[in-house]
């Protein structure tokens, strides 16, 4: 009941946001100098050829028609055809999304697994050496130019030390695992191919570390701040006065409450992950959405950009929905009375 | 007593909608203030006591216009600013001023004292900065602040001094009525004494009328001429402060006074404190509001009770507003009227 109260407006919101995004991207795409027809037909195309391509793309129709067609296609899940790859944008996204999700998931897990304990320790030992170290790490993470950090790591671990691969998802000589989920780690295990599995793991190390590092900073900082907030709450004082064990106070009483405001932040961090992923993928030649969208932007492949933007914003709203629900479950006050 | 009332509140009701519907609609209401009538004559102090959540603050905020009233009238000098507009509205409105409970939060931390004190005048407009400052200096002196304080900011003051600033601000427009919402409950007793003395002095000098809310019965007894006891948004008993507080008539007033900590009597036994929690003000009870908690409840208590003059044995005729000023003591309990308590 209360869940529905949160979910239903969110779904209305989802449509609203997607429609808004569609309008905005459509407008931008029409402001851009650059003729999609010329991109497809080639620079030297004759006027005739251009016309025919334009007709093909529906670009000869009035703008309003183009928009209604675009929106109606969108509702059918058709995001149009990429000018650059000449494939359906939906198909492209389906191809590249798993790579990004695999990278994103691993780095998010890394960031959380390291960031939360670090933040907690930092808050508990506020102003102590652990805190200084944790704050330094977190501020470095937040301030690190992702692309540069990626380059430095590639230089160090791939070019100089030769201990980790610097690009792609899997070694050259190893056949790709059969696509089931698109996650190499899972697919290779499903096939029982350990060579592919370990190769994928090795390829994941550097990019996921780079990506995790930035989020680690954000998470550590947030957890530290909300832990500090929570630790000076009256109920912690009550718990201490009742003689509860330090461990119990920190983990059962404080952390739980500190995580609640952090959930929202995690939602935002997921959004940022996308941004970081774009840059990380570019440097590591990771065949994911990031590489796809950067190339698309550089070539002004507008159907691709629009498709990506729409999908990303749907993802954003969905993540926020999940965050809201998680928030609701974490905070009894919201859960019980809505 | 023939003076026309300075403030007269008639039939004032305040309901707060509780948003609960899917799309923000209200499903029910909080009945914070229920048909309150009261009058204050010039230079008089009226105290309002009652337990937490009974609607005291809402009542005064409705009077001063901070919350929307659902029905009823508030006349100051016979005029209701609710119906006025623009400058006129401001003028009527500024005949009363309010001093809040927490002096810290009622002063904008970023403004210097002289600006704080003259804010009502600044809002009203028409005075130059120098004039405002000069007026601020006068006002500051009258509440016992030193001139060098004028350029400081509120955080540089103690709680008592801040409350002085708030009082200075409240009297800056020469109002006739000051509303005091627990003006000293955030302060220590020694500071409370200073503020109370100041308020009494100002009343003597400026002929101010006060409407004061307080938890502290002895303070009300000391400070106010008359007192009204509120329960669940209603006035259940009213009359001269000393009379009401020394010999309460309404069962609720009795319980309330019994539980007030005092140097004079020991801690009451649990039986006497059997007051429970304030009942739900979302669904108003029928009949006497206090019936469920009342140890004197009997037949007849399920009928709505009205506020009638104490000692008026007929007990059926409600008082007209104009009568009330003349009638010193009234109570909303048929058993008290009947002398059963």
């Amino acid at each position: 009941m209360t869940i529905m109260r949160i979910i239903i407006p969110r779904f209305v919101m989802l449509f609203f946001v997607v429609f808004g995004v569609a309008v905005i991207t459509f407008i931008i795409s029409h402001l851009i100098p650059g003729d999609p027809a010329r991109m497809i037909a080639g620079d030297r195309a004759s006027a005739e050829t251009l016309m025919s391509v334009r007709r093909d793309l529906g670009l000869d129709r009035p703008v309003w028609d183009q928009f209604t067609i675009y929106v109606s296609n969108l509702l059918h899940g058709d995001l149009g055809t990429s000018l650059r790859t000449r494939r359906s944008v939906a198909g492209d996204i389906a191809t590249f999304l798993p790579a990004t999700m695999e990278l994103g998931a691993i780095s998010l897990i890394l960031a959380i697994v390291i960031g939360i304990p670090l933040g907690v320790a930092s808050a508990i030992y506020k102003d102590g050496p652990i805190d200084q170290v944790a704050r330094t790490i977190s501020v470095c993470g937040i301030s690190m130019p992702v692309f540069w950090f990626a380059l430095v790591l590639v230089l160090l671990f791939y070019a100089k030390l030769h201990i980790l691969p610097g690009s792609g998802r899997i070694d050259m000589g190893i056949a790709l695992p059969t696509r089931v989920t698109g996650f190499f780690l899972i697919d290779s295990l499903l096939e029982g191919r350990m060579d592919a599995f370990w190769s994928s793991v090795r390829h994941l190390i550097l990019p996921s570390f780079v990506l995790a590092f930035a989020n680690l900073g954000v998470i550590t900082r947030q957890i530290r701040a909300s832990m500090l907030d929570v630790l000076q709450e009256d109920y912690i004082r009550t718990a201490r006065a009742s003689g509860l064990r330090r461990r119990v106070i920190i983990f059962n009483h404080a952390l739980r409450n500190a995580l609640i405001p952090s959930i929202t932040l995690l939602g935002l961090a997921l959004g940022d992950l996308l941004y970081g992923a774009v840059l990380t993928e570019t440097v590591f030649a990771w065949p994911g959405m990031g590489t796809y969208v950067v190339t698309s932007i550089q070539t002004l492949d507008f159907p691709a950009i629009m498709g990506f933007t729409v999908v990303a914003s749907i993802g954003y709203v969905l993540i926020n929905l999940i965050v809201d629900i998680a928030y609701m479950f974490a905070d009894p006050q919201i859960r019980e009375i809505g | 007593m023939t003076t026309a009332p300075l403030l007269s509140v008639e039939d004032l009701t305040v309901n707060f909608p509780i948003p609960g519907g899917w799309f923000g609609g209200a499903t029910s209401h909080v009945h914070a203030v229920n048909k309150v009538d009261l009058t204050i004559r010039p230079g008089e102090s009226l105290g309002i006591v009652g337990e937490s959540g009974c609607g005291k603050s809402t009542l005064v905020q409705a009077i001063i216009g901070l919350v929307e009233r659902s029905s009823g009238k508030v006349l100051i000098d016979g005029q209701d600013f609710h119906d006025a507009r623009g400058k006129r509205k401001r003028e009527i409105r500024q005949q009363m001023q309010i001093v809040f409970q927490d002096p810290q939060s009622s002063l904008d931390p970023r403004l210097p004292v002289w600006r704080l004190i003259t804010e009502p005048l600044h809002v009203r407009g028409g005075m130059s900065k120098a004039e405002l400052r000069a007026r601020a200096a006068e006002l500051a002196a009258s509440v016992g602040l030193r001139p060098e304080h004028l350029d400081r900011r509120p955080h540089e003051f103690s709680g008592g001094q801040r409350q002085r600033i708030a009082v200075a601000r409240a009297i800056s427009t020469d109002p006739d009525l000051l509303i005091l919402d627990e003006p000293t409950s955030a302060l220590d007793v020694s500071v409370q004494a200073q503020i109370i003395n100041l308020l009494l002095k100002l009343q003597r000098e400026l002929g101010l009328a006060y409407l004061m809310i307080s938890h502290d019965v002895s303070l009300v007894r000391h400070f106010c001429d008359r007192v009204a006891v509120m329960y669940l948004g209603q006035i259940v008993e009213a009359g001269p402060a000393v009379q009401v507080l020394d010999s309460p008539a309404h069962p609720y007033t009795r319980t309330l006074l019994a539980t007030v900590p005092s140097l004079k009597h020991p801690l009451p036994e649990l039986a006497a404190t059997r007051v429970g929690e304030l009942p739900n003000n979302r669904i108003l009870p029928t009949g006497c509001y206090y019936r469920d908690r009342c140890s004197f409840a009997a037949a007849g208590c399920d009928r709505p009770q009205s506020l009638v003059e104490f000692g008026d044995r007929t007990g059926t005729v409600a008082m007209s507003p104009s009568d009330k000023a003349a009638w010193p003591r009234s109570v909303r309990c048929h058993r008290a009227q009947a002398g059963d308590i």
């Binding site: 037909a41 080639g42 620079d43 391509v53 790859t85 000449r86 690009s167 998802r169 000589g173 | -």
Partner: protein, 491 residues
């Protein structure tokens, strides 16, 4: 991780858009098209001459508008069916119907007729000198008509052919993982000798540094798009051969002939004199280029080895400007990052032009935007890169100088000299090569004087391979295209 000796790994910066001969217009796609399809004719070795491939012989009628090809026997598509006249007709009909970029190579093709399974006839609407040469372009690849089984929504199997092949070439695509790798395996039905390389893997690796490390570590056998600085660094490694071959790829700069002050020939000449060509070639290109001499590059017939070449002469440039009476000139150089040389070239130009009192602003835009601006004449100076689609000076002369082709199609300087236009049009309408060459030389002489473009340099095609890769033959018409069938890897 060394690849097996019969597998060749090629590493390049970006994934090819498609492998559909009817659609693809980029060299990265040609790599697959030339590996998987055959054409009626092919370039011979390292030259731009054509020799029979699917066609065993051909003839042309007196009007020069009807070409008849006799098909050789024994060529089979990768499903085992024979390559016949119907397939040829299907392939060209498809290209013309798709009317995408490649169809522009056949501007006068009216009809293709099947005479008998071994004979096919091309009917042209008018005489077109480079016709035979166009039969060797990527878009003229012969496709198995059976692909129509994969047709969807009347797309002429476009979607399917984008990532699959259906030709009679030595290889066929067996897997395509977007932005990762394309795998080519041998076509069992290939008519030629069995290639030594069993499998070709084409990897996408965006960073040049990463590609280079792959090559050095033996993870890749060939890496493409090697900038000159990297090439220089790789030269020291004995396991690696840097292939640097003179190409027909030219870098030049469009000067907008319509816009003042560039509409004044003296201003254009002054600019042409102001540029430190040698500095650019040696400094920016590390010597891996040569200054252009006229429009037709060295290596293509029609090139004039004695033609006029502007050289760095600031004094002369200043004098010309003075003569033109122009001062306080303010120009913009609109470029994109599509070619890594464009920015440093712009910087060099900025410095050079400043010397003669012309202020040059650099404006970096997306490549698509740059193209659009060039096509619509909305620029002052803009760099361009040009490679010929087929081996004929027509690709330069008629595209660059014919006022009919102003804008996108080729004449991006909006150059209009009726005399030059007449010469190039005449050259295109006859097929007598010596005569045509004559006309083109004449046209070059005139146009170079007009300085419509700033002729910068003809770049070397640079890629690097491991020394174990043998048998590669460079053809300037086939950049990024490899003769995989006759290459091998050996220690």
């Amino acid at each position: 991780a060394w690849a097996a000796s019969d597998v060749l790994v090629l590493s390049r910066a970006e994934d090819a858009p498609t492998a559909d001969p009817g659609v693809e217009i980029s060299n990265s796609g040609y790599t697959f098209i030339y590996a998987a399809y055959e054409h009626l004719v092919a370039y011979k070795g390292a030259t731009t001459d054509v020799v029979p491939e699917l066609a065993e012989s051909w003839s042309v009628d007196d009007t020069n508008t009807v070409w008849t090809f006799k098909l050789a026997k024994g060529h089979k598509f990768d499903d085992g069916t024979d390559v016949d006249a119907a397939a040829v007709k299907f392939s060209f009909d498809r290209a013309m119907k798709l009317k995408a970029g490649p169809s522009d190579a056949f501007p006068v093709l009216k009809e293709v007729q099947v005479v008998d399974p071994g004979t096919v006839k091309f009917i042209l609407s008018s005489q077109f000198a480079p016709f035979l040469s166009t039969m060797a372009v990527s878009g003229a690849a012969i496709i198995n008509p059976k692909v129509m089984e994969h047709e969807k929504d009347g797309d002429m199997a476009k979607a399917w052919l984008a990532e699959h092949t259906a030709g009679s070439g030595a290889y066929k695509i067996t897997s395509w993982e977007r932005n990762q790798s394309v795998v080519l395996d041998r076509n069992e039905h290939y008519s030629g000798p069995t290639p030594a390389l069993k499998q070709i893997v084409v990897r996408t690796v965006g960073e040049i540094s990463a590609r280079r490390l792959q090559l050095v570590n033996g993870d890749a056998d060939i890496i493409e798009q090697v900038p000159v600085d990297q090439a220089a660094a790789l030269k020291g490694d004995s396991n690696i051969v840097v292939e640097s071959n003179p190409s027909l790829y030219v870098n030049y700069i469009y000067m907008n002939n319509k816009r003042p002050p560039l509409d004044d020939v003296r201003v254009r000449q002054a600019i042409s004199y102001a540029v430190d060509y040698k500095g650019i070639v040696d400094g920016i290109m590390q010597g891996q280029a040569e200054q252009m001499r006229g429009a037709v590059p060295d290596g293509m017939w029609g090139h004039d080895p004695n033609g006029f070449q502007y050289s760095y002469d600031a004094e002369k440039a200043k004098a010309l400007l003075k003569e033109a009476g122009k001062s306080d000139i303010h120009l913009t150089y609109t470029f994109s990052q599509a070619d890594t040389a464009w920015e440093p070239v712009g910087l060099a130009l900025q410095a050079n032009l400043a010397d003669i009192g012309i202020k040059l602003d650099l404006q970096a835009v997306a490549d698509t935007t740059k193209r659009e601006m060039a096509a619509s004449g909305n620029y002052d100076l803009a760099p361009g890169a040009w490679t010929p689609d087929f081996a004929d000076p027509y690709m330069f002369m008629n595209y660059w100088f014919d006022p009919e082709r102003m804008g996108g199609p080729g004449n991006r300087a909006f150059y209009n000299n009726p005399k030059v236009a007449g010469l190039v049009r005449e050259a295109a309408s006859i097929i007598d090569q010596p005569k045509r060459e004559q006309l083109y030389l004449e046209a070059q002489k005139l146009s170079t004087q007009d300085a419509p473009y700033l002729y910068l340099m003809q770049k070397n095609d640079i890629f690097a391979r491991r020394a174990v890769v043998k048998g590669y033959v460079y053809n300037p018409m086939l950049i990024q295209v490899y003769n995989f069938a006759t290459m091998s890897k050996s220690e």
